[in-house]
């Protein structure tokens, strides 16, 4: 169950030529640590924004420079803040960096599948963010970017009533971006309630030019994945609106409820293509692209879009290098594309991907997905059958997922494939000796994984990953039988479940630099 942050790119991204130059100037000043120049630039941008009542360039500046997982910029931002400890501009910048770090450390899974370590990291970064937001707002309480950050922070329950802050933000900057911050912060799976949302739409939306309560309710319904009458009403209302900024919702409806409309294919392609430029959310984009290729039968279009998306991702990673979620998406799709086209991954490609690994760990050390990337790199280097080499990564993956049944299941499935080949169930190119070795190594981990899976699913039978039937339900059953009949792994078979759960392993970020080669 992934939680998607509503991205605020919609407006933040629409860049004008002047904004581009300001961003470049600011980046240069930051790189050279010319903090007085930075102060000057931000004072100008802020003055401009207040004067024109247009906060887009200022927000864009913060977004492009500071809402990034970039250790180098982080260090320099800290230095700027130390040099100008009273500056609302520097404090806001630092708060934005800490917010970004907080969400990356936490990861995107539901709380019950998020480890205590990830939560500790999340909260400690949020405390830092909170501190700097306070600094920023001490002298200029209505500084809009600081209010944006305060709203984001309020979403997590760290400070104040989100609705109060949201109202202040809209009063200070009555524009569409503020609405987006508001809707994001009031999502019901964070600290908002349905009532807060309705209040927002009814009492605040009309203050924003070219916006109204109906538009707000449409966006709220989708942001909260509403079901039933609210969603039906939202879709009905959407049919009568033509605001381009609703395209991100329109494409979802064209792919589901409206998919048989005569213009559906055209609209989907138009919006999907355009979203690359103004609203690119890599995971969502790639999933949709896969659906367009297969279900919507648009292979050429999808191939073109995928290529463009991979290029954008690569470009983004350059300025956002410790963003392990971007890196993970890039890793997964690079591997998939290569396997699909050539049936294998070239050592060169794997080396390029492996080079991202130390950066991924910086903020991703509590992320199950990052440990899965590590496991795949190891499997590539040592061979998929070398279970022992992969196990430390798996232990971390499972532990940091809070023993999420679908993660345990995926681990068990990997082990079962090894078992199946090693016991002659499927063909293999390995030598008899390798097969015997794999057979020897895989049994006890498989028994252990099966026991954990059983226990987790017994505790929560309706969890995702537990209730899979049909062909997909067969291998856990086989694993259970292997576990029951195992003579060798009596420890794993009979031990209490407390003794079997995984504990994390310390793995050096440089592990792949030390000469383990395929």
């Amino acid at each position: 169950m992934r939680i998607y942050l509503i991205s605020l790119f919609t407006i933040l991204w629409t860049s004008s030529a002047t904004a581009e130059t300001t961003i470049d100037d600011v980046l240069a000043a930051l790189a050279e640590q010319e903090f007085s120049l930075l102060e000057e630039r931000f004072a100008e941008a802020s003055g401009d924004a207040n004067e024109k009542g247009d906060y887009r360039p200022l927000r864009q500046l913060y977004f492009a420079v500071f809402e990034k997982a970039n250790s180098e910029r982080f260090a320099k931002t800290k230095a700027w803040q130390s040099a100008f400890p009273q500056s609302p501009f520097a404090a806001t910048a630092l708060a934005k960096v800490h917010l970004k770090r907080a969400f990356l450390l936490r990861g995107a899974m539901a709380s019950r599948y998020t480890s205590p370590e990830a939560f500790d990291g999340f909260h400690s970064e949020l405390r830092e963010a909170s501190r700097y937001i306070e600094v920023a707002r001490r002298h200029t309480p209505e500084f809009v970017p600081a209010l944006d950050a305060a709203v984001d922070l309020a979403m997590t329950g760290h400070s104040g009533d989100p609705l109060v802050l949201v109202n202040r933000l809209i009063d200070a900057a009555p524009d569409y971006t503020s609405m987006q911050f508001a809707i994001s912060a009031l999502r019901t799976n964070w600290s908002g309630s349905l009532r807060d949302n309705i209040q927002l739409c009814v009492t605040m939306a009309h203050k924003v030019p070219d916006y109204d309560a109906e538009l707000c309710l449409i966006e709220v319904a989708f942001a909260n994945k509403a079901k039933g009458p609210l969603m039906d009403a939202a879709i009905e209302a959407l049919a009568n609106r033509d605001e381009p900024f609703l395209d991100y919702i329109r494409i979802k409806v064209y792919m589901t409820q409206w998919r048989y409309e005569p213009n559906a294919l055209e609209e989907i392609q138009r919006i999907h293509r355009a979203s690359l430029a103004w609203n690119f959310k890599p995971d969502e984009f790639m999933i949709r692209n896969g659906i367009l290729q297969t279900t919507f039968n648009l292979p050429f279009f999808a191939a073109e879009m995928e290529e463009a998306a991979m290029q954008t991702l690569a470009k983004w990673l350059k300025v956002d290098p410790q963003n392990h979620r971007l890196a993970n998406t890039y890793f997964r799709h690079s591997v998939r594309r290569s396997e699909m086209r050539y049936g294998e991954i070239s050592p060169e490609l794997m080396q390029d991907l492996t080079d991202m690994w130390p950066d991924m760990l910086v903020l991703g050390r509590f992320s199950p997905d990052v440990w899965e990337v590590g496991r795949q790199i190891m499997a590539f280097r040592r061979g998929w059958h070398d279970v022992v080499a992969q196990l430390p990564f798996v232990r971390n993956r499972v532990y940091f997922s809070n023993h999420n049944p679908s993660v345990v299941r995926s681990h068990m499935s990997d082990l079962y494939s090894v078992w199946d080949v090693a016991t002659g169930g499927s063909g293999s190119s390995l030598t008899a000796e390798q097969l015997a070795g794999a057979r020897e190594e895989v049994e006890c981990p498989l028994v252990r994984a099966s026991r954990i899976y059983e226990a987790m699913c017994k505790a929560d039978p309706r969890a995702i990953g537990c209730n899979i039937g049909g062909w997909g339900g067969i291998f856990p059953e086989h694993a259970r039988r292997i576990s029951k009949n195992s003579k060798k792994c009596s420890a794993g078979k009979d031990a209490g479940i407390e003794a079997l759960v995984y504990t994390p392993v310390d793995i050096s970020p440089n592990i792949f630099k030390e000469g383990v080669q395929k």
Binding site: Y260, N297, P299, F300, A303, M340, Y342, G343, I474
Partner: protein
């Protein structure tokens, strides 16, 4: 025919013929004559009769006469419903006609009840499915004990958007018609819409099978396992049970079992089992597909030819009540073409177009006839339609291959338009291989003959069609409306 088969057929046939006041021929005549009043009276009487053989007859009539593409039958059925809108039997008969329309508008390649994969055909399919839902619902509401309405309703419940509660209808069905057919229908519905298919089969068989006199749980699980290809352990178990039972009713599933699990390699026995699947209406493509496997299993390549002949004989019988079934007609036209009866093949082909125009195979057959008559440009037109109907699927490579062969064999030199069409199909084929790569299977490997013919064509593109080499692949795709347009110039295609 083996003696016991004959005996079995006689034993089944005798009591019916003796007892029946109504038979299928009488209803057929009423449909042909459009005699709505007598039709309504006859069917109403039949629908109230709970005698086992009469229930069987009602089912047979629904399945062969109402679930039909016969224009006259359909006109009478529509007329009947218009004149007697609250007649339960008229409603259920029309529900079956609507169900057949779901089949006719469905994907030309699967079982017939799957959504077409091309976007432009999907809405039409959804509408016909909706119509069938509504008629079945209405029929059941009007007469809750009408067996044909219950069957139609259960049939439609296999489709995802319905998924209403079926237990109460199942219970009623078992109180009216506690027999094998009823249970098989229930299994098909419950398995078809279940997540855990094996569990659904077990539940259904255990709840109902012992209520039927001619059935039991074991038989039920055997049929369920092989008709719906359940999970492996259930197939294993069913295979073991099946080996212990000697019952000709199980021949069809025995064939499936042999086909999946192997074992029986006695050619004659396997041929007989395979032939037995013709006892019910089957999809020609599926029958020939299994014939190919039988031929391979028994190492008798000639068997495929035999199967074609036997199927053709059977098809004429099925076409009597289902004369516009595009798949039967496609097969028939193919066989005629193989026998070099081109004029007859073309006639049948045109009939097949009425409903079958979205089917890519049909256009290939049409093109083949034209190529045989040396009409290269007319054939090319059909090839273009076939390419459009292939809709960016990997099958496009076969279209190219076939076209390429025809051009090479042709005695007259091809026109530029023909060469450019071949080039366009080749470029699209190559594009598909670039996208799908390994997923497309061996056909996209450089050394595969089909792919080699594609690259050969492409090497000629700069010479033959220089303009094409500068166009991005995504702009080379064929118009999605082409198929329908061309079909419309050849026949009156079925109204939507």
């Amino acid at each position: 025919m083996k003696l016991w088969t004959l005996t079995f057929a006689l034993v089944l046939a005798l009591p019916w013929n003796a007892a029946f006041a109504t038979d299928i021929d009488e209803v057929r005549t009423l449909l042909l004559n459009g005699d709505v009043d007598r039709l309504d009276a006859t069917m109403s009487e039949l629908s109230k009769d709970t005698e086992a053989s009469r229930i069987h007859l009602y089912r047979e009539i629904s399945d062969t006469l109402f679930r039909s593409s016969h224009p006259t039958y359909l006109a009478t059925l529509a007329d009947w419903l218009e004149q007697k809108p609250s007649s339960g039997t008229a409603l259920s008969a029309n529900a079956w006609a609507a169900i057949n329309n779901v089949y006719l508008t469905g994907s030309p390649y699967g079982s017939g009840f799957e959504m077409p994969n091309l976007h432009e055909f999907q809405q039409r399919w959804i509408q016909s499915r909706q119509r069938a839902f509504e008629l079945a619902e209405q029929a059941l509401r009007t007469d809750q004990r009408n067996i044909s309405a219950i069957d139609a309703w259960l049939f439609m419940q296999r489709f995802k958007p319905a998924k209403g509660e079926t237990t109460h209808v199942a219970t009623r069905l078992m109180s009216i018609a506690p027999n094998r057919q009823s249970i098989r229908n229930l299994v098909a519905t419950n398995v078809g819409r279940a997540q855990v298919r094996g569990r659904a089969a077990i539940d259904t068989c255990h709840s109902y099978a012992n209520l039927a006199q001619d059935y039991n749980r074991t038989l039920c699980m055997i049929e369920a396992a092989f008709e719906h290809i359940l999970e492996n352990d259930l197939l294993d178990q069913a295979g073991k049970e099946l080996a212990k039972i000697d019952d000709p009713r199980l021949d069809t599933v025995r064939f499936v079992a042999e086909n999946i699990q192997g074992g029986e390699k006695d050619a004659t026995a396997l041929f007989r089992l395979h032939r037995s699947t013709l006892a019910r209406r089957v999809e020609p493509g599926e029958y020939i597909g299994t014939a190919q496997r039988v031929a391979w299993l028994t190492d008798t390549p000639d068997y495929v030819e035999t199967a074609h002949d036997e199927l053709s004989g059977q098809l004429d019988q099925w076409l009597r009540d289902d004369p516009l079934n595009p798949r039967y007609l496609l097969h028939k036209s193919y066989v005629l073409q193989q026998r070099s009866e081109y004029a007859a093949a073309r006639k049948v082909w045109k009939q097949a177009l009425v409903h079958g125009w979205p089917d890519l195979n049909l256009w290939i057959i049409g093109a083949m006839t034209e190529f045989h008559d040396e009409n290269l440009s007319e054939g090319a037109k059909y090839i273009e339609v076939a390419a459009a109907a292939a809709g960016n699927k990997i099958e496009l490579l076969s279209v190219h291959q076939m076209f390429d062969n025809a051009i090479k064999k042709s005695h007259s030199p091809p026109q530029d338009g023909v060469l450019c069409l071949r080039a366009r199909i080749a470029l699209l084929s190559k594009g598909l291989c670039d996208v799908y790569g390994q997923m497309a299977g061996s056909i996209c490997r450089p050394d595969h003959p089909v792919f080699k013919s594609v690259t050969d064509t492409i090497s000629l593109v700069p010479k033959n069609c220089p303009r094409l080499s500068e166009t991005p692949v995504s702009e080379l795709t064929f118009s999605s409306t082409l198929t329908k347009e061309v079909a419309g110039t050849l026949v009156n295609i079925a109204a939507e």
